[in-house]
């Protein structure tokens, strides 16, 4: 198996640190605007919809749907044993979308059905943890 820790690691910045502190706790936390109530991703100090700086972190449900994906036939560092592997976009139940990997099922067009239900899991990248997603109900 590939070593997830050998995969490219993010380096958090002060504005993104709460996100990566949460992933280490096994939680996917994003921000929500207190004024317009929109949830948003990626982390930042004001709401991209209304500009308010009255924003708070919250823990998402971890539920998502597969929005779209590609299958990379060349390996990024740490992905050598997984080719081809899915680089996917998922839509969180709370609305925002993010890039991720899909685990727990073969990464083939037959298994990766758009809009399939997913739930969050976490994998190491260097010293950090990042969210990945597996089909709902499929345990690791």
């Amino acid at each position: 198996m590939s070593s997830s820790a050998a995969k490219p690691a993010p380096r958090p910045t002060p504005d993104t640190a709460p996100y990566f502190e949460a992933t280490k706790r096994g939680e996917l936390c994003i921000q929500r605007c207190q004024r317009c109530e929109r949830a948003y991703f990626y982390p930042r100090s004001s709401c991209p919809a209304c500009g308010s700086t009255d924003v708070v972190w919250f823990t998402t449900s971890g539920r998502a749907r597969l929005h779209t994906y590609m299958l990379s036939y060349r390996a990024a560092p740490g992905f050598e044993d997984q080719v081809p592997y899915a680089i996917a976009i998922v839509e969180l139940a709370e609305g925002p979308r993010l890039m991720t990997n899909i685990v727990g099922i073969p990464n083939t067009p037959e298994h990766l059905v758009l809009d399939m239900e997913l739930e969050v899991d976490f994998e190491p990248r260097g010293e950090e943890m990042v969210p990945v997603f597996r089909p709902l109900g499929v345990t690791s």
């Binding site: 779209t68 299958l71 990379s72 990024a76």
Partner: protein, 383 residues
Amino acid sequence: MSPKALGAIIGAAETERLGTVPELSALELHADAARRAVADAGLTMADIDGVASAGHTPSAVAHYLGITPSYLDGTMVGGCSYLVHVRHAVAAIAAGLAKHVLITHGESGRSRVGAPPRWPDPSSQMGQFEVPYGVLGPPTMFPMGVLRFMAETGLTHEQLASVAVAQRRWSSMVPRAKFRDLITVEDVFASPMIAYPMHLLECCVVTDGGGALVVSAVEGAADRPKPPVYVLGTGEAMETPLVSQMEDFTRSKAFRLSSQLAFHQAQITTSDVDHLMIYDAFAHLPIYGLEDLGFVGRGEAGAFIEEGNTSPGGSLPMNTNGGGLSYTHTGMYGMFLVQESVRQLRGEAAAQVEGVELSVAQGVGGMFMAAGCLVLGTSATLG
């Protein structure tokens, strides 16, 4: 249609050589293109008082060429930057900031001589939120919406492949093109899978090269050696620096907004367009572009290209140099869109289309990050 000229492109040239040019650094590619474009305009470097560039800063390019400009534009929004530079240049000239603006592109995309590193920093947005998932540059990111596009519109893999087939029909007539052999949909499917659903032949070539433009006022443009190409409309727009944050993975907001600005300013509709260039780093971009610019309806672009409408002899000649898929793609390809539009309007293109009076060049920057659109015309288009 009665457009008013905002400015004129009086000089245009590409580097003497394109493709694999390891003996020239990226800055030398800027300089080679710059000297040729200034000569094409019938000017000398001493006449240039404005410099715009991306990839390298305009100050780096100006100093290299011994120019002391009164106008600098370092707008860097990816491969469409040069179209945006034209937009800014005509405004700057109208405001009296400069008389002759030199816009340069040079990139050692293949040989990487004197070129900046490509891998993003781990603390960048891409480094934190995309790179950890195993992305390997644009081939694994830019076409991220294609499967969604197929699911929502019925676009087929064959239609996607037909983009590459159509553009090879054009490049087969272009001696400077990197790839000139005609291909079929089956050839595309037989080429290596790079990142499903994109095969090698649905991805752009990777080359060294450059190009440059000289933009001036309308007054005096007709006195230069070459027929002026008038700037009739311009637009710029942006969407997101992260492809994963596109608002709609089946549409480019920046394509739509930038083209609306340019078409409105030029007072044209799609039916006025004789010739079209749409930035094609990958085969899906002309499909998105045809729909986002309004040339065809939702879900119609794949069949439109597959049926030959954009091929030689078709109703809408598109990417007539062969595009990024077959002609050249240095990394920030937008300069070459404008070069081909200028050649077609001057009547000096390798695969010349008869009677081109109005050409649209639509660029994209980053991965649906930004866009620039130019409506260009001959003197016959002026109202």
